[in-house]
């Protein structure tokens, strides 16, 4: 499977990659984008199977990215990652088509539980 990781922080993208590896999903191919706009280009070009996106980013946030995909009628398994994770954010994420919202700190156990149904 092809996984697109979107975060403006290169360290945060590395953390997500590390968590994927430690959760046993290291065999999948990963591509990266630095914000929502770059992600839209990557999705159009590479058609990833799973989108793991940060919420707070410059240019285009994660929730704006999901809404843009909805408007384009694109269906993509999407997960929002945030350090916050209020009830309102969960509701917004669900309404924008996210499978779920993962809150930081990320751990391999939580990653495994959450992504097993998607990545097998």
């Amino acid at each position: 499977m092809l996984i697109l990781i979107v975060d403006d922080s290169s360290a945060a993208r590395m953390i997500v990659k590390k968590s994927l590896r430690q959760a046993g999903f290291g065999g999948h191919t990963v591509i990266e984008a630095g914000n929502g706009l770059e992600a839209l280009e990557a999705i159009a070009q590479d058609a990833p199977d799973l989108l793991l996106t940060d919420w707070a980013m410059p240019e285009m946030t994660g929730i704006e990215l999901l809404r843009a995909l909805q408007e384009q009628g694109k269906k993509l398994n999407s997960v929002l990652i945030t350090s916050q994770g209020t009830d309102e954010m969960r509701e917004e994420a669900r309404a924008a088509g996210a499978l779920f919202l993962l809150t930081k700190p990320l751990s391999s156990e939580r990653f495994r539980e959450a992504l097993e149904p998607v990545l097998g």
Partner: protein
């Protein structure tokens, strides 16, 4: 609990607990020890601050340490191998900012359980100390994350000091 019901020291306690949880959970630290006293780390130390807003309260939570400490925290967070080359400045800035961002998120969730809603801003990285005046209250403690000694700081703007 009403907004503003916590003292600066209580905010610091919440931050320290959040950092302990994050360090033990997210980057597999083996030991985290807190010394309540402000160690008044050297002014050349670096770190990150994240703004917190709760009602009419405005604060910054910060984590400051030496250059070597910043590198050690970055290595731990990114699970870098001991023989991997030193992380670049951009990675260090991102990683230390990410640690404080995670801490702020844990604080937000802990305080939400007690009915206090906290908004979180974006992290900034600083080299050297942030000057505080009589318009700020400052509370700090030393924390050791494995072999890394750092300072956790709460800077709180006094009411009406906007």
């Amino acid at each position: 609990m009403k907004n503003g019901g916590l003292s600066t020291e209580q905010w610091l306690t919440v931050a320290l607990e959040a950092l302990k949880d994050s360090a033990l959970g997210s980057f597999a630290a083996e030991g985290v020890f807190v010394t309540p006293e402000d160690s008044a780390l050297a002014a050349e130390h670096s770190g990150a601050y994240v703004p917190l807003m709760a009602g009419d309260e405005s604060m910054q939570v910060g984590l400051l340490t030496s250059e070597a400490g910043c590198e050690a925290l970055t290595r731990a967070l990114l699970a870098m191998e001991p023989d991997e080359a030193a992380p670049g400045l951009e990675d260090v800035v991102d990683a230390v900012g990410e640690i404080v961002n995670i801490v702020a998120g844990v604080m937000q969730r802990q305080l939400a359980e007690e009915g206090l809603f906290v908004e979180i801003g974006l992290p900034i990285f600083v080299e050297g100390h942030v000057v505080h005046t009589e318009r700020h209250e400052r509370s700090a403690a030393t924390i050791e994350i494995d072999a890394t000694r750092a300072e956790v700081i709460m800077l709180r703007h006094n009411s009406g000091a906007a």
